[in-house]
Symmetry: C2
Subunit: 251 residues, 2 copies
């Protein structure tokens, strides 16, 4: 946490997206202090969600955990909690989708009370069995539009670039976009989760997507989110320098 | 070819789907004879397509190859040619999609003349960089509906199970469904192409999809299409016996 925050500060990057597992390692108030001391702001907290579970008690436990995630986001000074909604259960895709909708419905009033927006992340369909049954921007918006315009879909280039309906849905998402994740597609994929590429190393038209997101009125921070072990293993300052360069070139 | 055909005959399976690379190894007329001698019929020929290419000369060469594929389908006694439409070129997804539409438009009149239907296969989005920029049933139908109702989208459980719009699109596809591929999802995926599972070993509601396909009026053969090295390496008769059992249980 400290290494990342200080690296961002040195690289002139003003925001950092935090993950709860790292926040938990460092401690909540210490994390807030580290970010503040580095002169940064938190762009979002990741992640709430994981709503589907077979047992009702487990679903209640997860809802409690989501309420804590909302509180942590607030304590870290960000108003965006990213929701990774959760995978299919066995073969019952429909049931999992219903549990996601119920979970968000139950969480939303509390989030609104605390002043935190729920950013429903729509995942690449290849991750449906591991991460989320919400796999298109249209589907995320179908849920988000049931609420006041302070719950919506994060746009993640990696997850959405394939969608023939993408640009129309981004326009539809106007006023409900709470984030933009820049990254690129990497193929072949020895690992479905970790095979994301540095911007510019894959086939995604990141700038085109970003421009449509801009036109749809999103003016918040853009997060670079690249799950890739090679990048994670590289020296932090080099990664940040390359990230800045590629961001300016491609995003 | 002979081993597969004779195995199907022994197992009481009446149709076989053929691939052009195997047909080419055996020879076209010999392939037709092997299938006929085994008492089978050909459910479809796979594959035409692969329309996008940077050079115009290469696109023309591919169109010629597609015309040969149409003739081969006809010679093999099937009226269905499956189109694997082709991947993105560099970062220009739009250009690749336009080339696919142009390729199909150029091929369709000849296919109609010969009496062969073009079955536009819509691929799982994870395969967009390797196989096809046509990644939803809706997108395949948007193209197919420009033609007489004898060009349409093959439904493949593996490719479509994630789609929130699936059942609505299958209903829309009524009269334009020329095939149904039964298989299951396999995750993690050491290989994106080969990681398909035997029916029943994954999360796909194959029967539910099949029933909606039935209700949409499809009455043709159902193909079991499982790209999986372990299954390919197992003894043929065992695979066919398991396939029959799982088909009856799950499809």
């Amino acid at each position: 946490m400290r290494e990342a925050a200080e690296g961002c500060a040195r690289a002139g990057i003003g925001f950092i997206g935090l993950w709860r597992d790292k926040v938990s390692e460092t401690g909540l108030s210490e994390s807030a202090r580290v970010v503040r001391d580095a002169g940064l702001r938190v762009s979002s907290l990741c992640r709430g969600g994981m709503f589907p579970a077979v047992a009702a008690a487990e679903r209640r436990a997860r809802l409690e955990d989501n309420r804590r995630a909302v509180e942590e986001a607030s304590a870290l000074g960000t108003d965006v909690l990213v929701l990774v909604c959760g995978p299919v259960l066995g073969r019952d895709l429909e049931a999992a989708r219903v549990m996601v909708e119920e979970g968000i419905s139950e969480l939303a009033p509390y989030a609104a009370e605390v002043g935190v927006k729920l950013a429903i992340e729509h995942f690449h369909p290849v991750l449906m069995q591991e991460r989320s049954v919400i796999v298109t921007l249209a589907q995320a918006l179908d849920i988000a539009e049931r609420f006041e315009p302070d719950q919506a879909g994060v746009v993640d280039a990696y997850h959405v670039w394939w969608d023939p309906d993408l640009y129309r849905q981004i326009v539809r998402a106007s006023g409900r976009i709470f984030g933009f994740h820049a990254n690129d597609w990497f193929s072949p994929k020895p690992d479905l989760l970790l095979s994301r590429a540095m911007m510019g190393d894959g086939p995604i038209e990141i700038r085109r997507i970003r421009e449509v997101v801009d036109a749809a009125g999103y003016g918040g921070p853009i997060e670079v989110e690249i799950f890739n072990q090679d990048i994670w293993d590289a020296p932090g300052d080099e990664v940040l320098a390359l990230t800045k360069e590629r961001y300016l070139q491609h995003a």
